[in-house]
């Protein structure tokens, strides 16, 4: 049972410029996510939940405060190291899937590995990598779509492809930004099941941003953001992930 948080944000502030105005998005947020925890961040549109996820996933850097990974500060690392971490440690899933339209499903899934390795290395190990990708695609149930381009896939299929892509680099942390936001309820539930499965079977730390309370309740813990501030931890006293209490709490909330 890890004691230090897997990934954490400490008093982060972030604001965006819009012309001459400075719009604060995050006004001092502390969040700690433990290893193998499934946390969902909820909030209204513009509450800063996506921004927080971006900061945690190193897609952006905070104006104030710091982001740590396994106790190490990572937001002040040089760009290259942050690119490297994004490639190896974090996996991303987006609301609009964000697959590359020019590549087919297999290539899309392989793209993080293509980015990681040089052409030569990739070419040398392409068989193993392709096998791994095919295995992952099979796991998300898309084996029959290997050579299809994203535009030939349905929304649910694209999101599952995106999950396979996020998993190919064996990430420690999966960051999902509204993964079900663009899907119908049933498909959304399927996607969520996949995530939960990953969390439970692979001990993957998952941080999911959503505006859908019902989806959010599926997580071990729900964090609510309001106008750039953390509103409440539903389970402040939680000792760790996968505790019966947290699950129960989740159940209760859903029922309620």
């Amino acid at each position: 049972m890890p004691t230090s948080p897997h990934v954490a944000a400490v008093a982060v502030e972030k604001s965006y410029r819009k012309g001459e105005h400075k719009i604060p998005v995050l006004r001092g947020v502390d969040i700690q996510v433990h290893r193998s925890e499934f946390v969902s961040i909820v909030g209204a549109s513009g509450s800063g939940k996506s921004t927080l996820m971006h900061l945690l996933g190193l897609l952006d850097v905070p104006d104030v405060g710091e982001v740590t990974l396994g106790g190490q500060r990572i937001d002040d690392l040089p760009t290259r190291s942050r690119d490297e971490l994004r490639n190896r440690v974090f996996g991303f899933i987006f609301q609009f899937y964000h697959l590359l339209p020019e590549l087919n499903l297999l290539e899309n899934v392989l793209s993080p590995l293509m980015i990681r390795y040089s052409t030569w290395q990739y070419w040398k190990h392409r068989r193993e990598m392709q096998d791994k990708a095919k295995h992952l695609i099979e796991r998300v149930g898309l084996s029959h779509r290997l050579t299809h381009k994203p535009r030939e896939l349905s929304g649910g299929e694209m999101q599952r492809a995106a999950i396979a892509r996020a998993l190919i680099s064996d990430p420690e942390i999966l960051l999902a930004d509204e993964p079900t936001g663009n899907l119908d309820a049933r498909t959304g539930r399927e996607i969520l099941d996949v995530l939960k499965q990953l969390n439970e079977q692979n001990d993957l730390t998952i941080i999911m941003v959503t505006h859908d309370e019902r989806i959010a309740q599926q997580a071990d813990r729900v964090v609510r953001l309001d106008e750039g501030r953390l509103e409440a931890f539903r389970d402040l006293e939680l000792a760790g992930p996968h505790s019966g209490e947290s699950l129960r709490l989740g159940e209760k909330l859903r029922v309620g």
Binding site: T51, H54, G57, L59, D60, T79, R80, D83, E84, L85, R86, N87, R88, F92, F94, H98, L99, L100, P101, E102, L103, E107, S111, P112, M114, I115, R116, Y117, S118, T119, Y122, W123, R165, S169
Partner: protein, 570 residues
């Protein structure tokens, strides 16, 4: 890896970018075609100049020449013998050419070169430039007959049979015409014959002297038909034949009687008795006449361009020059045209008259009466290997005391012309390269568009851990790929065009009805081309470079995109 894959996919799916590269393709093709044709022309031109001038020319500063060419050549051989293939002593002097055309005297400035055809043919391309060695074609380019002399034959100063025949007929016409005119001199002025031999007014002629005139006309018409295949206005030719022949006869008679108005004291007229024996006999002075001196294009009533000859081989002309006496005096002498010199370089064709060296030396008094030693002004040298020319020139300059001889390669002699050609080519290349540069701006604009279009994908790549440099590399290699495709297509297109340029020219001529490449203007039977491999490579590399250069800015922009903003971009 993703860079190559994406770059390749972009190349295959973004046809708009291929459209932008068409301008590069056309630019490259144009540059290759223009350069090849320019190089073809300039190579041909250089070859021609080179052929006329010989590799190295050793010129006497003194127009009177330098005695004892054998000793000079021995000295040259002693200094640079290893590099020398052949030498030819010549006499070069300024002079004037006169002949009568349509009853009028025409005088033109010339450069008179006394040559020994045998050794001259060894140092240059004399044979290639003499018309007797070429096939005869009519104005429409149709084959008339094969060359009168074979290539291997050493050029000489004799008339070929056809021209000799023409000369005999001319002499005969002249004799008959003279008789006729003498009888009717009171009625018909000599200089302006009212005779239109093409369609003669018979009554008037009949009045003069029916029998003789009829005979004269017969001969005249026969002469006009047979001799002047390339001559346009038959009446004029015939008239010219009359007056011209009259003039020659006058000259010949003058020479015979020792009262030639062109003769100067001191000019030997030893051959005169021979002339007297046969009116058709050749003058001792024989010349190869530059084509541009007596031939001009003429547009007839049908709008067809024909070449008009004011003189034909077999005719006589008068040449004036200065002798080497003290003080220099003008000398005039009749000379028989035995061949036509045509190199395609108008500067030479309208200036040069080649003459038999020995006769020129005699007319110019360059023969020492006591020793029989003959002077020359120039020694033309052909080298075994032209790349050694600088070396040989240095050696010869050192061997000859300064002030007597100037030693130059043909390139040095033609420096300004060659420099002008290369400047012209350079400027043209700069202008054409601007076309490709313009194409570069097209690529720039289209690339910016593509970067904007691909903003979200760039965000995805960055989210997945791609470095800024990697994203930049995608677009740079995209530019490189487009450049290579465009330049490659351009090279293929350009080379194909150059390869089939004469067919294309023929097609254009057929379609537009305008002769695109008139060989009479350019003196080339077909468009000369010369593909310089290094030029093609440079053009292609330049185009690729421009394409890459144009993609730097958009690629930088792509690499600088913020991942979050890029992902949000809709």
């Amino acid at each position: 890896m993703y860079k190559l894959l994406l770059c390749q996919r972009y190349l295959r799916t973004r046809y708009i970018a291929l459209a932008s590269i068409i301008s590069v393709t056309l630019g490259v093709a144009t540059m290759i075609v223009v350069n090849s044709v320019m190089a073809g022309f300039s190579t041909q031109m250089k070859e021609r100049i080179h052929g006329i001038l010989a590799d190295v020319v050793c010129e006497s500063v003194n127009l009177d020449g330098h005695p004892n060419p054998e000793e000079l050549m021995a000295r040259i051989r002693a200094v640079a013998g290893d590099n020398i293939e052949a030498m030819s002593p010549t006499v070069e002097v300024y002079g004037m050419l006169s002949f009568k055309y349509l009853g009028q005297w025409i005088t033109r400035p010339i450069q008179l070169i006394g040559i020994d055809p045998e050794s001259k043919a060894q140092v240059g391309t004399l044979v290639d430039n003499l018309e007797n060695y070429q096939e005869v074609r009519d104005d429409d380019g149709k084959f008339v007959r094969a060359a009168a002399r074979k290539r291997g034959e050493v050029p000489n100063w004799e008339l070929i049979d056809e021209h000799m025949e023409y000369r005999r007929r001319r002499a005969e016409q002249q004799r008959i015409f003279d008789d006729t005119m003498m009888d009717s001199a009171h009625e018909v002025p000599l200089e302006e014959p009212a005779v239109n031999p093409h369609n003669p007014p018979p009554e008037e002629e009949a009045e003069i002297n029916p029998a003789k005139t009829a005979k004269a006309l017969q001969v005249l018409q026969a002469g006009a038909e047979q001799t002047v295949t390339a001559e346009l206005p038959k009446p004029e030719v015939a008239a010219e034949a009359v007056t011209d022949a009259a003039h020659h006869d006058e000259l010949v008679q003058g020479a015979e009687a020792g009262v030639n108005p062109f003769d100067q004291p001191g000019v030997p007229v030893t051959e005169a008795p021979v002339v007297a024996a046969d009116p058709a006999a050749l003058n001792p002075a024989r010349v190869y006449l530059g084509a541009g001196l007596f031939r001009f294009p003429y547009k007839d009533a049908d709008g067809k361009v024909r070449m008009v000859n004011m003189v034909l081989p077999g005719d006589d002309v008068t040449i004036s020059t200065v002798n080497a006496g003290r003080p220099p005096k003008a000398v005039h002498f009749p000379a028989t045209v035995v061949d036509v010199f045509k190199s395609g370089m108008s500067e030479y064709d309208s200036n040069l008259v080649f003459m038999n060296l020995a006769q020129l030396q005699e007319y110019r008094v360059m023969v020492d009466p006591s020793t029989g030693e003959r002077s020359i002004t120039t020694i033309q040298i052909r080298l075994k290997d032209f790349s050694k020319s600088k070396e040989v020139v240095e050696q010869l300059r050192a061997a000859f005391p300064p002030g007597h001889f100037t030693v130059r390669t043909w390139e040095q002699k033609q420096g300004p012309l060659l420099a002008a050609v290369s400047v012209e080519t350079a400027i043209l290349n700069v202008l054409l390269f601007l076309i490709i540069a313009v194409a570069g701006f097209g690529i720039l604009a289209i690339f910016f568009m593509i970067v904007v279009e691909k903003t979200r994908d760039i965000g995805i790549l960055k989210a997945l851990g791609a470095h800024a440099s990697g994203v930049m590399a995608i677009f740079l290699s995209y530019g490189l790929g487009l450049g290579i495709v465009g330049a490659g297509a351009g090279v293929v297109l350009g080379l194909l065009f150059v390869w089939r340029i004469n067919d294309i020219e023929a097609l254009l001529t057929k379609v537009t009805g305008i002769e695109v490449f008139d060989e009479r203007i350019y003196y080339f039977p077909s468009i000369p081309t010369h593909v310089d491999v290094s030029m093609v490579i440079w053009v292609a590399v330049g185009a690729v470079f421009i394409a890459v250069l144009a993609s730097i800015l958009p690629a930088r922009r792509a690499s600088m995109l913020h991942p979050v903003q890029a992902l949000r971009y809709e």
